[in-house]
Each structure stands twice: as structure tokens, then as C-alpha cells.
Amino acid sequence: MQVSVDPDRCCSSGQCVMTVPGFFEQDDEDGLVRIRPTAPEPAQYADVRLAAELCPGGAITVTEGAEPVGHAGHGPAR
């Protein structure tokens, strides 16, 4: 599973942090979404998918793929 976040679309609702606390984080200043620099644990996959579904800004993209493909960094372009 590959996860990317687009801080430009994030409205700092914190919904993702609540859904998968260990993986999504909020910037201390502006609350914009960040992700841990390691790929999510397989046990977290279902919740990560839910977090993407529930993100009100559509800022989280999950790409399912051959495992493990690691991590996509902060922006969608990287």
C-alpha cells in the first residue's frame, strides 16, 4: 500500500489522526497533515483506507499495489 497526502487540500480536521493515530500526524503549527516516513503496517491498512475515505478535503490518496512499496512522501508529485 502506498499513501500520499496533499497538504494543499488538507483542512486540518484531524479526522485522519483520529482514525490512524500512529501513521497520520498534524503539523504543530497549522495542523496540516503529515505522514510517518514508514509505510503503514498491514494491520493498519483497513483504517488507512477509511481515513482516506473520510478525509473531508480529499487530501489522502491510497494506492493499493504489490507489497511493500513503501511511502510516497508529502506531496502527490513525489
Binding site: 483542512c11 486540518s12 480536521s13 484531524g14 479526522q15 489522526v17 483520529m18 482514525t19 498534524q26 504543530d28 503549527e29 497549522d30 495542523g31 477509511l50 475515505e53 473520510l54 473531508p56 478535503g57 480529499g58
Partner: protein, 404 residues
Amino acid sequence: MTSTPTTQAPLLPARHDTRCPFNPPPAYTEAAATGPVSRAELPDGTSCWLVTGYQEVRTVLSDSRFSADVRRPGFPFLTTGQREILAVTPSFVRLDDPEHARLRRMVTGDFLIKRVEARRPAIQRIVDEALDRMTAAGAPADLVTHFALPVPSLVICLLLGVPYADREAFQERSRLLLSIEAGREETARARIELLDYLGELAVRKREHPGDDILSRLAARDDLTPRQIATTGVLLLVAGHETTANMIGLSTAMLLRHPEQAARLADPAALPGAVEELLRLLTIAHAGVPRVALEDVELGDTLVRAGEGVIAMLSTANRDEELFGGGDRLPTDELDLDRDARRHVAFGFGVHQCLGQPLARAELQIALATLFRRLPGLRLAVPESELEFRTEAVIYGPKSLPVAW
């Protein structure tokens, strides 16, 4: 592909059936049974779309082709007088991006999960002290006056930096502001008085800043005093009306289901239980207004540019396919073990409630503490005698006489 109405279009905002006080007005559930999008009529006589399906509600609230800007032609108004009042100084929830995002980001820092979590001990203290006062005064007591209202009121005063001594004046005015029955002049006056009050407070904060939201807003030079006051009014009203009604209504519902209320004592079950209460009770009973900026296909319906749309959160939250099934109870019943996390009680899209981490923390602490400290809590009157705010945009009990 415009659908043709088969039944009489309901008049908004629809009336509750007082015999089923925990259900949304029947007109909305009936509309939902006919399809996800139907016709309705606004108080000013214009017609609009009533959107009751879960997916369609999420689309309306997250697709930028639907605008939250009250100044747009065709914007649907659910209460008399709102048009003039809101159009003058709209708060950021009534604006679209980028203006909405710019203003919202000025206050997001205060509602970060981490920041809210750090406030849990302060919230716990506020909850405990409110219960101390209520129990000291003796039973029966009105839980709304002694608990449901003071708790969020004290919390938002703390965050905003509003002296709690001024609470009565702003509580009364925020009631008026959210009332469907209050006249246009009354509502306008209440809003202006609140704006003036917070404007003056912000001026004082500029000279004597504290560690609070108003002080942080007042210190910025990219905001006019009016913009600061408008954001303040939004947070003040949203912060105490919504949570107060959720605490009151949740308590009334839990007293109906004492066997389930026991689940609140399990710290692992508590967050999920609160999500289920948020889902089932969805206190924003009047729905969320938007206007279409272009022609949009919504399900099988073509919504045309300039048409008003009311997204009904309460019916979306009772979607059987999404929240029912298996050994779960039907979605119009309380089931504290249900996975209710997909609910849209806080709205959806970039306008989704900014204060949700705070609301969740307050509800978890208030409800768990209430039922832990008062295990014998019960209604002091028959449930049929309870009165509800059927006239308000935010729904809940007017009072809740309890004994313990």
C-alpha cells in the same frame, strides 16, 4: 433527466413529530424513502432540492461546484431574516475557498488533536465542578441548565478568552441567533450585539493579550476588527450550542437505554459510543444549505446552476446499507457497539466542523463522568413530558429534569 415530484414537496424546515422526539422530522425520512434527492419548498416560497442520501450528501458538501457562499444568487435560506444578516458579515463557514480557507486556518491551531488532548484535564475539571454544583443543589435538577450548557460554555469561554461572567448575555443571544421562530429584527439585533461585544473584547486583548484565541486573532494585522468579531461569534455560538444540545440529547437517549449506558464505563468502547450518539442524534436537524454553481448530476437528478440544495445530515446518517446489517440494530436505534465512524454529523468537505476534536473530547468526558458519578441517574418526569427545541436550527431538549 430532472425528476418530477410525485408527492407534495415538504415545506422547510419541516416539523418534528413530538411523539418521536429522537427522530428527525418525518418529512425528511419520508423524502429519504422515496429517493436520495427530492423537491422541497423554502420559507420564502422558492423551491430547492432536499438531499437525503448518504453519498449524495457527501457529494454536495465536498464538491466545489456547490457553494457555501450566502451571497450567491439562489442561496437557500432556512430561517427568516438570515439573508440580510449573513450577507453583511458572513463568517468563514458561509464563504468558499480561498477566502474560507484563509480565515479558517487562522484558528485551526487551537483545535489540533494534540492541543485538544492536552486540554482533557481542564475539561475534566470543568465537568466535575459542574456535577459538584448540581449534586450540591440536590435533586431534581435541570441537567441542561446545570450541566449540558455550562460545560461547553465554560470550555469555549476558556479557549476564546471570554470572561465567564458575561455568559448569560451571550447565551441568550446565541439562542436567538439559532432560533427559527425569532423575528428578523430580533435575530439581527442579537448578532450585532454579539459582534459588538466581541469586537470590544478583541480591542482590549490587543493591549492585554492572554493565551487565548481572541488574543491571537486580535494580534494579527491582516484582519479587520469586524472579521475578528465574526470569527469569535461563530466559535462562541458553534462551541456551546452544538455541544450543549448533544450532551442533553445524548443523556435523554442513554436514560432510555440504561443497559447500553453501562458501555460508557469501558474506556475502549467510549470513543465508538460517542460516534454512535453523534450519528443517531445528528443535532443539525435543519440540514446544511448550498447553492449549485453549475449544472450537476446528483444521482439521477440534474441540479441546475443557481438552484438551492439542502443536505440532510440526519437521514444520511441512517443509511441502512452503510450503518446497518449483520447483528446490528436498525439504524434508527441506538447501538453503542456499531461502527459509526462514517457518519456525517460534523458535515463533510472543507467546511467540516473545525471543532470536532474538541466536541468529541467534551462529549466523551461529560457523558462518561455523568454516568460514572451518578449511576442512579433517571428522568424526574415522564419522557413524554420533555420538550425539545423543535424551533431551533440545532436540536436538543429544552430542559431535562433529572434525579439520581
